[in-house]
Symmetry: C2
Subunit: 253 residues, 2 copies
């Protein structure tokens, strides 16, 4: 029996092993699917995303962004955004009062944060896909569920940094010339494993079918059609994750 | 085809119809099961529940309670706790800046709030049941997931007020003498429908089996054993809901 000696270096290496990354991504699928199903029970409530739609005294934000900003301020103080896979959506968040962890990171420190794209895409494309009702007055519940969904999506998409670091370490000589020439198409092609993506999309559809309906209903109806969840993965989550992988590689060398 | 005329009185009546209550309770089951599964991926992290376990500058609270209090302050300002089925866990939360809704309530206004019992039970009984690992350092994630789970449990349990009002309205002459004599056993017996409880427990177990495992795993392992979720319902959620029903009826007449 081989015993792995636990050193910082080994922990870092383990975090970048494809098996670890794979199981992290699979785990995050449930959080994302659960949070989209939760959000889908309320109306679109477009007013909560519109600046000035609901007046918040002393704030320029829309109702949802105000709640998100206030939530991020609380989470920032307890050190959420010092973790390498956590990224805030709003500016002006305070420093942590918990002492900083001085762990070395398994990935390079970068300023890459595509949350503004994630936010726009969420409001303009995901919400209309998952919510059937229009305005049902459940503004608070909708915004609270938006925050959970946005945080889950952001974490998953920025996890692309780990994916890219892992792929790079396995194949530095393959990536280096492409990165040096800023050959985006070449990099994207090298990052893409179509068989893995196909399996992921099949798995996501199966999970969405399992979680998205009443298991004992006589005529089961889906809360969100599995195809919609699959489409959100194929058209939004996977491409944005790869965008993060690409941006990370550009800064990697 | 009969058309129901939408009046305030009809809306209130609909909210108290057993069919509406049943579908609300079923919907809340998923939120509860999802949130327990989410929390179960982290360690017990007992330190986050202990006053002084993690020092929060300027706060007497434990780490988790501090986060809960800060979250409740944000939610209070957007009017969460003016809804008849929402109850805060902490004191000293601010008034809403959204104008109060002057909807009539379908239930009586009371000060019944058993959140301190829910909180104690959650920390001392539910967390040890659902979390396998001991301390894994994921304090922020654990506390954020605790807040979601606690809010879902509190909403479900205090929904007992609706259940009690509905049952009372169907059978006032059956309940009145029991309430006047403060006959707790008699009230509890009258509130109990064993067949309904059995069906609920079967359904919860089925949902926990469906949601709590990887659907495509070769050797599926449960994130939380379905029996554990069922036990949380039978030993904690149902009795606490009935406690709310009982307290409500005492104040009802």
């Amino acid at each position: 029996m081989t015993r792995r000696i636990i050193t910082r270096e080994n922990v870092m290496r383990t975090e970048l092993e494809l098996e670890t990354i794979r199981s992290n991504l699979i785990r995050q699928e449930e959080t994302i699917i659960f949070s989209l199903i939760e959000r889908s029970q309320f109306g679109r409530n477009e007013i909560i995303y519109r600046q000035g739609g609901i007046i918040i005294p002393g704030s320029e934000y829309s109702f949802m962004m105000h709640l998100l900003h206030e939530t991020e301020k609380i989470h920032a103080r307890v050190r959420r955004y010092t973790a390498p896979d956590e990224h805030p959506f709003t500016d002006g968040i305070p420093a942590p009062y918990l002492p900083a962890r001085d762990d070395e990171w398994p990935i390079r420190k970068t300023d890459i944060n595509i949350n503004s794209t994630i936010l726009d895409t969420y409001i303009s494309r995901i919400i209309p896909l998952i919510c059937e009702k229009d305005d049902d007055g459940n503004y608070g519940s909708s915004a609270v569920n938006d925050i959970g969904a946005l945080q889950a999506l952001s974490k998953r998409i920025h996890y692309g940094k780990y994916v890219a670091e892992s792929k790079y370490q396995k194949d530095p000589s393959g990536y280096e010339p492409l990165i040096k020439n800023n050959d985006k198409d070449g990099i994207m092609e090298r990052l893409t494993d179509s068989a893995v993506e196909r399996r992921l999309l099949d798995r996501v559809k199966l999970k969405a079918s399992t979680y998205g309906q009443e298991p004992d209903a006589v005529n089961p109806t889906y809360k969100i059609r599995p195809e919609v969840i699959q489409e959100i993965y194929s058209d939004i989550i996977i491409p944005l994750t790869k965008e993060v992988e690409y941006l990370y590689l550009l800064e990697r060398i």
